[in-house]
């Protein structure tokens, strides 16, 4: 799974979700893997514009990512390049794509983060080894637990 896709149904209209995704005020409220604060949020949501977000996690570590907006079509499409900056995280550039679709209850958001490793791993994802990898690992967890 070198590409990750998540879907959320949100009780808000697409334009509101789009603003939450692209404004510094919005980003400050949701960005990050835990409840640690967003320290910097800069956006310029137009094709060729850049974003930069820095956050601190509850364990005290700080992380920053930045990239360039590649598609900005309010309120339904947003994509940007992504890279971790100034840390020991994964090198290389990946791709974030967000699609917003109006549904009766509000918005269906489809989020994809792809090209997460190198070119090769992306191809391998397309060939579909994801399931195999997960199955193999599950198997080994079981084997390891059951071995003396």
């Amino acid at each position: 799974m070198t590409s990750l896709t998540l879907v959320r149904r949100i009780k808000a209209r697409p334009s509101i979700v789009f603003d939450a995704l692209t404004t510094p005020e919005g980003i400050a409220r949701w960005w990050g893997p835990d409840d640690g604060p967003v320290l910097v949020a800069e956006t310029d949501p137009q094709v060729g514009g850049c974003f930069r977000v820095r956050f601190r996690m509850l364990d005290g570590s700080e992380h920053e990512s930045s990239g360039e907006y590649l598609e900005v079509e309010k309120p339904e499409r947003l994509s940007m390049s992504w890279r971790w900056t100034g840390g020991a995280e994964d090198p290389g550039e990946s791709l974030v794509e967000i699609r917003l679709r109006a549904i009766a209850e509000g918005t269906e958001l489809t989020f994809t983060h792809s090209r997460l490793h190198d070119e090769e791993s992306r191809r391998s994802h397309e060939e579909g080894w994801t399931g195999a990898l997960e199955k193999l690992e599950r198997h080994f967890l079981v084997v390891e637990r059951s071995s003396p």
Partner: protein, 117 residues
């Protein structure tokens, strides 16, 4: 960290090839197999299979042990676990972020509706 990334590179590069994935899948089912047994289902020749096994070995995905003239190949789970952990970190990051994004957007929607009333 460089080592960690190099290891991930090697793991993903090893997994990119369908023949190598087939070998790993078989090793998962059989818990060890000889090289000649592994080569059997493939139309490719033994030296080609050996090459694939070298790549898997270098990535730490298999172990080899020799008894007499027979080399037995087994799966090693560690690099795969490491690759899965790496992917899960991204999943956690975005899953949490999107949950909070949804909550925030919903509160903004509620505000917008109140204003209109």
């Amino acid at each position: 960290m460089v080592n960690y990334n190099e290891r991930l590179d090697r793991t993903f590069a090893a997994l990119v090839d369908p023949t190598r994935r087939a070998i790993l899948a078989r090793l998962e089912r059989e818990d060890g197999a000889s090289i000649s047994a592994l080569a059997q289902p493939f139309v490719i020749k033994l030296p080609a299979v050996m090459k694939h096994l070298d790549v898997l070995y270098d990535a730490g995905l298999i172990s080899r042990s020799k008894v007499g003239r027979t080399v037995t190949v087994r799966l090693r789970p560690e690099p795969m676990g490491e690759a899965m952990d790496w992917l899960r970190r991204y999943e956690r990051f975005w899953s949490k972020s999107l949950d909070r994004l949804a909550a925030y957007a919903e509160s903004k929607e509620a505000e917008a509706r109140k204003k209109r009333r």
